[in-house]
C-alpha cells in the first residue's frame, strides 16, 4: 500500500492496476478496469516550476519528459509515445549528460511550466446569485455570510450580484445614486442577445451589426460592463447596503403553495451576463439556493404543495413530469458555461430539496463546488463558504479555465473521464469507441478546478493477444502523459505535465504480477465512481448485482482456493480488504439510495467524483478511531462491536464526523468530572477526539457536519448506520459493547461466507 501512496505523492495518480494487464482480454478478465485517478493540480511542495515553454513532440505533441531517450551528441530526443525523433531547439544546445534540464530529471515526472507574462487580463469574477424566497431568519444568516464573504475576496476581484425569487433582480452595483436593479420575469428565459439589448449595453454606441458580442474586446464598452461587475474594493459598500436592504421576496404566497422561485432563470441570466461581459476568463457563479425551483424553464416541482418533490422512486418510475426538461435545460446551461469557461458553484441550504439532482450536470461539468446544508445558519454552510475565499494553509487553491489533455502509448485508448470536467470533443486515434463518462475525446475543459479535484480516467487496452506474445520484449512499458493547462488563483497561466510509465504483463504467469500491482483502495473508488455513473445513466441497472458479480469474478480469478472447499479460500494481502470495501460500498449512500433524496444522492456522488482516493475511501468505508484509558487512540473495526461503554469513538464518514461517547463516558461527562482538576486525564480523553475532529474539519471541503453524541442517544444513529451490523436484534450471542443495530442487513461475516461459497463453486 505504501508504495502506492508514494506514487501518489510524486504524481498525484492512483491506479487500480499498477501493473497493467497487457491485452484486451486480459484487461476484461481483471474485472476492475484499467484506470487512473489523477489529481491534476495536486499541491507538491517540491515540484519545480519552469519559467519557459515546454518542448513538444513534432508529431504527437507530447511533452519532453524523463522517459524520453535522449541522444546528447545528436541533440535528439525520442518521443516514447510515437517514437518520433525530435531535435532539440537551439536554446537546449548546452544539454548533456551532466547538464540536464529539469524536465528530464527522473524524479520530476510531474513538472509545471509557467510562461512568463502570461497572466490573465481580467481578475477573478464572482457573481453571487442569491435566493430571496426564504424566511427572514435564513435571510439574516445568508446576508451575514455573504457580507463576510465579500470581505474575504481579493480586492481586485470583480463582484456582481443577482437576487431572485418570483423575479430575477440583476443589481447594477456600479450605479452610484440609488440602488438600482434590472428585474426579469422569472417565468421567461432570456437569451444573451435579449439580455444585451434589454440591459442597454448599446446605449452609448450602436450595436455591432454582426459577430459575437462578448466582453470589452468584442463590442461592449468597459463602462457598461463595469455597471454590473465591480472590483470588490469599490463595491463593498454598495454590495453591503444592497444586502442590508434585501428583503424576502415580496410576492404573496398562498398557504397551499410554495414560493415562486425561478432558480433556473436566475442562473441562466447570470450565465448570459457573464458570457457577455467576461467570456473566457475565470468567473464563478455562486448560487445560494434556499428551496425548490418552481418557476421558469426548469422547475423541479409545481407551486402547489399538494405535489411532493420527486423521490428516487418517482424518478425510477419516470413519473416526474419536469425532470427531463430540467435536466435538459441544465445540460444546455452547462454547455454554455463550459463554452464561456465559467463555473457554477451551488450552495443549497434548505430542509427541502432544491434541485441538485437536476443541477448536477451544470455544476459537475463546470467543476463547480457544491455544498448541501440544512440552513444558511448551519456551520456546514458558513464555514464552507469561508473556506472558499480563505487564503492560507487550507485554501482550496481555486483555479480556473483548465484544459486537461491525455497522451498515451499506442495500445491504449481513452474511454473517458468520470469527474468534474467536460469533454472538448477532440476526437483522435486516442479515443476509444467505448465511452465512459465524458468520453470520445482526448481533451477536457475544467472550468473550475482546485487542489483536490481528482479525475477518474478509464482506459481501454486495445493490444490483441498476438502469437508471438512471448517474443515481445522490446518494450513492456505503457506510457501516459497528463497535461493540464490552467489559470491558478493568482491569475497566472500554468501548464502541468505528469508522465507515467507502467509495465504491462500478459500471459499465464501474469496473475502474480498483477496482484502485486493491485491498489485496492483505488480499485474500490473506481468501482464506486463507475457504479454511480451506471446507476445514473443506465436504465434498469442493478448495482448490487453488478458489484457482487464483479467481486465474485475478481475473487475467483485472483483468490487461492480449491473447488468447493470453503475453508481453502484465501486472498493475497493485496486484495484482502477489497471484499470489505465492496461490502461497505454496497451499503454506502452511493448505492443505497433508499432514505436519501435524489438531491442528497446527487450531492454525495458529486463529491465522490471530485475527491481523491483517500477521501473517497472514507466516504465508502468510514474510518473509526477509538479512545480509551486503556490505550492511546487506535483504529477500530468499523463494526458494532467497536462500541464499548468506556470508549470514545471518532467516526469520519467524510460528510459527517461523529464523536460517540460510550455510556460510561457519557455519564462521567454529564457528571462534569472533566471540570474537576483531579480528573484531568478524563478531560484530556474527552478532548482528544475533538482535537482530531478539528483537524479533519479544518482541511476538508465541504466542511463536514460534526455530531457529538452519546451511546443510546438519538444522534448515535449517525454512527450506527455506518457500522457493520455484526450484532443485530436477531443475534443470539451476547453483545460485547452492549449495542445492537436494528437492521435486517447482512453482516460482513455473512457476506463473506456467501462470497466464498460462490467463488469456490
Amino acid at each position: 500500500m505504501a508504495e502506492f501512496l508514494d506514487l501518489e505523492a510524486q504524481d498525484g495518480v492512483r491506479m487500480p492496476w499498477n501493473v497493467i494487464p497487457g491485452t484486451k482480454q486480459e484487461a476484461i478478465n481483471c474485472v476492475v478496469p484499467v484506470s487512473a485517478i489523477y489529481t491534476p493540480i495536486k499541491h507538491f511542495p517540491n515540484m519545480p516550476v519552469l519559467p519557459y515553454s515546454p518542448l513538444r513532440c513534432r508529431t504527437c505533441r507530447a511533452i519532453l519528459n524523463p522517459f524520453c531517450m535522449v541522444d546528447f551528441a545528436a541533440k535528439i530526443w525520442i518521443c516514447p509515445f510515437c517514437f518520433q525523433r525530435n531535435h532539440f531547439p537551439p536554446h537546449y544546445a548546452s544539454i548533456s549528460d551532466e547538464n540536464l534540464p529539469a524536465e528530464l530529471f527522473p524524479q520530476y515526472t510531474t513538472i509545471e511550466y509557467e510562461t512568463p507574462g502570461e497572466v490573465a487580463s481580467i481578475p477573478p469574477v464572482f457573481m453571487f446569485v442569491v435566493d430571496t424566497c426564504i424566511i427572514e431568519e435564513e435571510m439574516a444568516f445568508l446576508k451575514s455570510a455573504l457580507s463576510q464573504a465579500i470581505e474575504l475576496l481579493p480586492d481586485n476581484s470583480l463582484v456582481g450580484l443577482i437576487t431572485f425569487g418570483t423575479f430575477v433582480h440583476v443589481h447594477e452595483l456600479g450605479f452610484g445614486q440609488i440602488a438600482k436593479t434590472y428585474v426579469f420575469k422569472g417565468s421567461k428565459d432570456v437569451t444573451k442577445d435579449q439580455l444585451l439589448e434589454q440591459m442597454s449595453f448599446f446605449a452609448r454606441k450602436p450595436k455591432p451589426s454582426a459577430g459575437v458580442i462578448a466582453g470589452a474586446r468584442d463590442g461592449l464598452s468597459s463602462e457598461s460592463i463595469a455597471r454590473f461587475l465591480l472590483p470588490a474594493s469599490e463595491c463593498e459598500f454598495t454590495f453591503n447596503s444592497v444586502l442590508e436592504e434585501l428583503q424576502k421576496d415580496p410576492w404573496a404566497v398562498p398557504a397551499d403553495q410554495r414560493p415562486t422561485r425561478c432558480t433556473s432563470t436566475a442562473l441562466s441570466i447570470a450565465a448570459s451576463l457573464l458570457g457577455a461581459c467576461v467570456p473566457g476568463s475565470g468567473a464563478r457563479i455562486m448560487a445560494f439556493v434556499g428551496g425548490p425551483a418552481t418557476e421558469g424553464p426548469a422547475p423541479i416541482v409545481t407551486k402547489s404543495l399538494s405535489e411532493s418533490i420527486r423521490s428516487h422512486k418517482d424518478l425510477d418510475k419516470d413519473s416526474v413530469p419536469h425532470y427531463h426538461k430540467c435536466v435538459k435545460f441544465y445540460e444546455g446551461l452547462s454547455k454554455q458555461l463550459v463554452h464561456q469557461g465559467h463555473v457554477l458553484d451551488l450552495f443549497a441550504c434548505a430542509l427541502d430539496q432544491v434541485g441538485i439532482a437536476e443541477l448536477k450536470t451544470a455544476v459537475e461539468r463546470t467543476g463547480g463546488l457544491v455544498v448541501l446544508a440544512e440552513s444558511f445558519g448551519h456551520l456546514v454552510f458558513k464555514d464552507s463558504l469561508k473556506r472558499v475565499f480563505q487564503s492560507g494553509d487550507f485554501d482550496l487553491g481555486l483555479s480556473s479555465n483548465g484544459i486537461f489533455e491525455v497522451n498515451c502509448s499506442k495500445d491504449i485508448k481513452v474511454e473517458g473521464i468520470i469527474g468534474p470536467c467536460a469533454s472538448l470533443e477532440k476526437k483522435g486515434p486516442l479515443c476509444s469507441d467505448v465511452v465512459v463518462g465524458q468520453g470520445g475525446t482526448s481533451a477536457w475543459k475544467m472550468c473550475g478546478l482546485d487542489k483536490a479535484t481528482s479525475l477518474c480516467l478509464f482506459f481501454d487496452i486495445v493490444r490483441k493477444e498476438s502469437p508471438d506474445a512471448t517474443v515481445q520484449s522490446t518494450s513492456n512499458q505503457f506510457y501516459f502523459q497528463f497535461m493540464t493547462y490552467y489559470q491558478n488563483n493568482s491569475g497566472q497561466m500554468r501548464f502541468r505535465v505528469t508522465t507515467l510509465s507502467r509495465r504491462w504483463v500478459a500471459g499465464p504467469g501474469s496473475i502474480q504480477e498483477l496482484t502485486a500491482g493491485f491498489d485496492q483502495e483505488a480499485a474500490v473508488i473506481v468501482m464506486a465512481r463507475q457504479v454511480s455513473f451506471k446507476m445514473e445513466t443506465e436504465a434498469e441497472f442493478d448495482p448490487i448485482r453488478w458489484l457482487d458479480k464483479a467481486l465474485i469474478n475478481l475473487c475467483s480469478r485472483f483468490g487461492d482456493y480449491q473447488k468447493d472447499s470453503l475453508s481453502s479460500f484465501s486472498l493475497s494481502p493485496r486484495l484482502a480488504i477489497f471484499p470489505q470495501f465492496l461490502f461497505h460500498l454496497r451499503r454506502s449512500q452511493f448505492v443505497q439510495v433508499f432514505n436519501n433524496s435524489p438531491d442528497e444522492t446527487a450531492y454525495f456522488r458529486m463529491i465522490l467524483n471530485r475527491e481523491n482516493v483517500a477521501n473517497s475511501v472514507v466516504m465508502v468505508q468510514p474510518s473509526l478511531i477509538s479512545y480509551s484509558f486503556h490505550s492511546g487512540p487506535e483504529p477500530a473495526l468499523l463494526d458494532v462491536a467497536a462500541i464499548a461503554a468506556d470508549r470514545i469513538l471518532l467516526l469520519d464518514s467524510f460528510f459527517t464526523v461523529v464523536i460517540f461517547h460510550g455510556s460510561t463516558i457519557a455519564q462521567w461527562r454529564k457528571g462534569g468530572y472533566h471540570h474537576q482538576p483531579e480528573h484531568q486525564a478524563f478531560a484530556q480523553l474527552l478532548q482528544a477526539p475533538h482535537d482530531d475532529a478539528d483537524l479533519i474539519i479544518k482541511e476538508r471541503f465541504p466542511v463536514p457536519r460534526l455530531v457529538v453524541c452519546d451511546q443510546y442517544g438519538s444522534q448515535a444513529r449517525f454512527l450506527l448506520a455506518k457500522l457493520n451490523p455484526s450484532a443485530t436484534y436477531n443475534s443470539d450471542a451476547a453483545v460485547p459493547g452492549g449495542d445492537i443495530i436494528f437492521t435486517d442487513d447482512v453482516s460482513f461475516e455473512v457476506f463473506l461466507d456467501h462470497l466464498k461459497r460462490l467463488v469456490v463453486q
Binding site: 433582480h169 445614486q177 440609488i178 428585474v183 426579469f184
Partner: protein, 1080 residues
Amino acid sequence: MAAPVPPGASRPGDNTSPPAPNYNPNFRGFPDSLADNMQNLNLNRPPMTSNLAARPPPFGQSPAFPSSSPSPGIPGPSPPFSRPGPPPVAQLRPSVPGYGPPSSTLPLNFVPGRPTGPPTSQPMFLGSRPRPSTLLSSTGSPAAPTSGGPYPGSSLPTHPIGPPLLTPGAHPNTLTSTPLSAPQVMPPSGSSGNVMSNGPPVFSSGALSARPQFPPINSASQPPVGPNVVRTPPGPALQSQLPSSGAPQGTMPPLGSPFGVPSWRMQPQQVAPPPVPGPTQTSQMFGMPPPLPNQSMTTTISPAVGQTGAPMAGPSKIDPNQIPRPTPSSSVILHETRQGNQATIPPPATSDYIVRDTGNCSPRYMRCTINQIPFSADLLVTSGMQLALLVQPLALPHPSEEPIQVVDFGESGPVRCSRCKAYINPFMKFVDQGRRFICNFCGFTDETPRDYHCNLGPDGRRRDADERPELCRGTVEFVATKEFMVREPMPAAYFFLIDVSMNAVQTGATAAACSAISQVITDLPEGPRTMVGVATFDSTIHFYNLKRALQQPLMLIVPDVQDVYTPLETDVIVPLAECRQHLELLLESIPSMFHNNMTSESAFGAAIEAAFLAMKGSGGKLLVFQSVLPSLGIGALSAREAEGRTNTSAGEKEAHKLLQPADKAFKEMAIEFAEYQVCVDVFLTTQTYVDIASISVIPRTTGGQVYYYYPFSALSDTAKLYNDLRWNITRPQGFEAVMRVRCSQGIQVQEYYGNFCKRIPTDVDLAGIDCDKTFMVTLKHDDKLQDGSECAFQCALLYTTLFGQRRIRVITLSLPVTSMLSNLFRAADLDTQFCCFLKQAASEIPSKPLLQVREQVTNLCINALFSYRKFCATVSSSGQLILPEALKLLPLYTLALSKSIGLRNEGRIDERSFWINYVSSLSTPLAIPLVYPRMVAIHDLDSKEDHNSVIPSFLPLSSEHISNEGIYLLENGHDCSIYIGDSVSSDILQRLFGVATVDEIPTPFVLQQFDNPLSKKLNEVVNEIRQQRCSYLRLKLCKKGDPSGMSFFSYMVEDKSTGGFSYVEFLIHVHRQIQHKMTA
C-alpha cells in the same frame, strides 16, 4: 359657508402649503370644514367628520369676525381675499377669514355632525328660502352674513348636511316648525349686497332690485367669499426654477371668480332691426314667456344681395359693423331652472350665471340643444336642427349656487322605477294618496315604498316635496348602497410615469415633470386612502420601491418591453403618508440620475402597460409624461407623419388616415385599463411628432385627457405643466364611474360622444371623471310625443369620490314637448348646438376627407337657417338673409369652425390630432372660444378705465381691427397669443416687456411683470383669463412679419383667407344657398 366653491377648493394640503407660485387654477385657503358644509363640493369631501381644529386657518391674520366691521378698505387687487370690485362687495368678503380660524377662540358652535336644529330666532332672511330650515342649516355658516344681524353664526347650526336630516321623514317636527312656508319671499334689500358679492364686480344692486322675485341664493348660508380668497400669491418656489423670468408673472393675480366670466352675451341692440330682447333677457322672462312673433326672434341682414345679384357685389353693401357678432355681457344672470312649473330657457353657456335649481337641473350639468322637444322626428328633421344633450355631470358650480344635496336612503337605496330603473325625481307623479307613483320615463306605476310614503297636498304634490331634495331638485346625489359596489370603493391612487429618455432629459421635460409632481403631491390629501407611485422609462421601465423601511428608494428596472410585468406586487404604489420623504428625494434626484442618459428610445406603450399592471389591483389615475414618439416595445409607433410627407401621393389621398390610430394595440390596452378603472392622462412635453392620434386613444378611452406642450420649452412651459397637473389632480373628480342617460318614452339615446369606454350600449364606463369632462348624447325619436306634455332626461352617474364614498349623481331635466317649429327656433340653444357641430365634426375628421367635413358643417348651418327662412319667417324679403335670433351667430361660428385647426388643410398632424382629442371632451362654455377666440387690445390697457371687468371688451376677429401700433392678446381657452405690431412704440414695449424693440424680446417668451401700471394690468388680465378658463394658457409671442405673426392671423376667421370666405362672403354664400333651396 358656501364658501367658495371654487374649483377643487380647499384641500387639506392647501392650508399648510406655501403659496404656490404663479397662478393656481384651483382656489385655496378655505378651512375644510367649511367647505365640507357645502354640498356642492361634496364630491371630494370625506364624511363630515372633519376636525376643525386640525385645520389651521389659511389666513390667520384676519380678524375673527370681520363681518361685524366691514372692511371696506380692501383696495385693489393686493390683499389676498380681495377681488377688485366695488367696496360694498368687500363688506362680504371679510367674512371668509371669519370662519377661517377654526380655533377654539371662535365662539362658534361648531359641532359637526350634530343637528342642533335651527333656532327659532333664525334671522329672517333665512325664511326667504323655500327650503326646509334643516337643509339650510346644513349649509349655514357661522360667519355668514354681513348685513344679516348679529353673529348669526353662533346661532346657526353649522351642521353639515347630515344624512339623518335628509333621510326622508326624519325630522318632521323641525320641518314644520320653521316658518318657512312662504316660498320665494324676497329678502330685504339689505341682503342684496350679499348677492352682489357673489357675482362679478359689475353686479350692481340696481340690477338686483330689478328682479325682486329672485331670492338671493345662499345669501346667508353661502357668504360669497367665492373664489377670491382662494388665490394665494404665487410663491417663490417655481420662480426659482425660472430665474430668467425675473419678475414673476402673476405675482399678484387679480382675484376674480372663475365663474364670473363676463363673456359674450348677445346684445340684441347691436343686431340689425328690430331690436328684440335676446336670450340675455331670458332671466326676465320667468314663467312662460308670451309667444313672440317670429319677427321678434329674428335677425335680418338687410341690404343683402339680391336674388340675382352678382356674387361679389354683395359685400360692399353689407356694413361689416352691422353683422351679428358676439358681444360681452357685463352682468351676472340669475337663472331659475323652472318657473311656474315650466322649464325656463337657460342662459348661454358662455355667460356668467347663477342657477337656482327649482326642479330642473342646472344647465351646467346638462343642457339640450333645443329647450323644447319636437313632438315628432319629422318636426325635428324639418327644423334642420339636432337634438342632443351635453352632459357635464361634475361641472363646477358657481360659488353662489346652492350645493347639491346628498340624500341617503339607507339600506334600501334610492327609490327607483321598478321597470326602467329611473331614479326618483321631481317629475315622478304621486297618485293614489301617495301610495303609488308614475314614472316620468316609462310611464309605469310603482308602489311607493312603505317608509317613503307621504300624503299628497291639495295641489297634488307630496306634502314633503319641498323638503326632499330628490323631489324638488333637478340635481341630487344619492349615497350608493352595497348593490352599487362590486368591491370596496377604491383608494385614490396616483401613479406618475415620467419619460427620462435622452430627449426628455435634455429638453428639461423630465425636470419640469419631476418638479411639478413634487409640488403637486403636497396638494394631495394625506389620508390612508391616497396612494402614490412613480416610475420612469426610456427603453426600459424603471419602477421605484418607495417603502419606508428602505433607506432610500430602490430602482427596479423592467427591461423586457415586449412582455412587461410589474416588478413588485406591493410597495410600488404606497400610501402617500408613508413615502413622502422618499418620494421627494426621488423626484429631486431623477433628473440628475438620468442626466447622462443616452437612450433615445422610448417604450411608452410598455411603460403604461407595466404601470397599469402595478395599478391593476386598485385602479387609479395614471399620469404619463412623454416626450418622444414611442419607438420600442408594446405599441411602438413609426414616424408615419414623415412617411406621409415623403410619399405625397398616398399622403394626399388619405391624409385623414394619419389622424386615425396607427394600430389596435393601444385600443386594446385602453379597454383593459378602463376595465380595471385605470384612468390615463398624458402630458406630451415634446418637440417632435409623437403621433397623438395613436396615443390619445388611451386617455380617451379611460376618461383621461391629453395635454400638449409643443414645442416644449423648459423655460416657458414648466409653469404651465405644473398648473395643469395641479388642476388635473385637485379638481373635483371621481373614480370607477358608470354613466347612463335615460329619456322619456318616445325618445332614446342614439350615441354617446366623449372620453369613455363603452362595453354595453346603454352605459358608458369612466375609469375617471372630472369636472371638465363633457359628454355629448345624441337623441332620436322612436315614437311620437304628446304635444304639451313634458319629456324628461335623466343622467345618472355612479362614482367613487376621492374619499372613498360611492355616490350616484342624478341629473334630471324635463322639457316641454312642442309641435310648433317656431317654438323650436325660439328655444334653440346656440352654444349647445354649436358645441354639437364641433364635436361631430371632430369625430368625423379622422374618417372622412376634410372637404366633406367642412361641407357637412356648412350644410348643417344652412339647413337650420333654411328651415327657419322657409317655415317661420313671415316677412320674406327675398333680398334679406333672415336669421333666427337664437341662432344669429351660427354662420359666424360655422365659418370659424371650418377655419379651425382641426378642419384646416395645413398644419401639423399632431396639432390637428390634439385638437380633435381636445374637442371630444370639451365643455360647452369652452367650445365657442376654441373656434372664435377672444381678442383684446393690450397696448392701451391702462388708458381704459373699465371698472366692470378686468378684461377689456374684445375685438372682432378681423385684421381690420389690428393696428401696427398695437399689441393684442388672443385666447381660446387653451392657448394664448400675444401679437405685436411692427410699429409699436418703444415706450409700450419697454413697459410691457422691458425691452426697447420687438426683436429684443427673448424667445421662448415668458410674461414678466414690471413695475408699471400697464404691465400690472396685463398680468391681471392674463391671470383673470387663466382663472376663468381653469387653464394656464400657453403664451405665444407673435410678431408681425415672421411665421408666428402669420399663425396669429390664421385666427382672424372673419378675414378672407386661403382657407375660405370672409365673414361677409360667407353670409352671402349661406344666403345664396338658402335661396337656391327655396327655389328648388
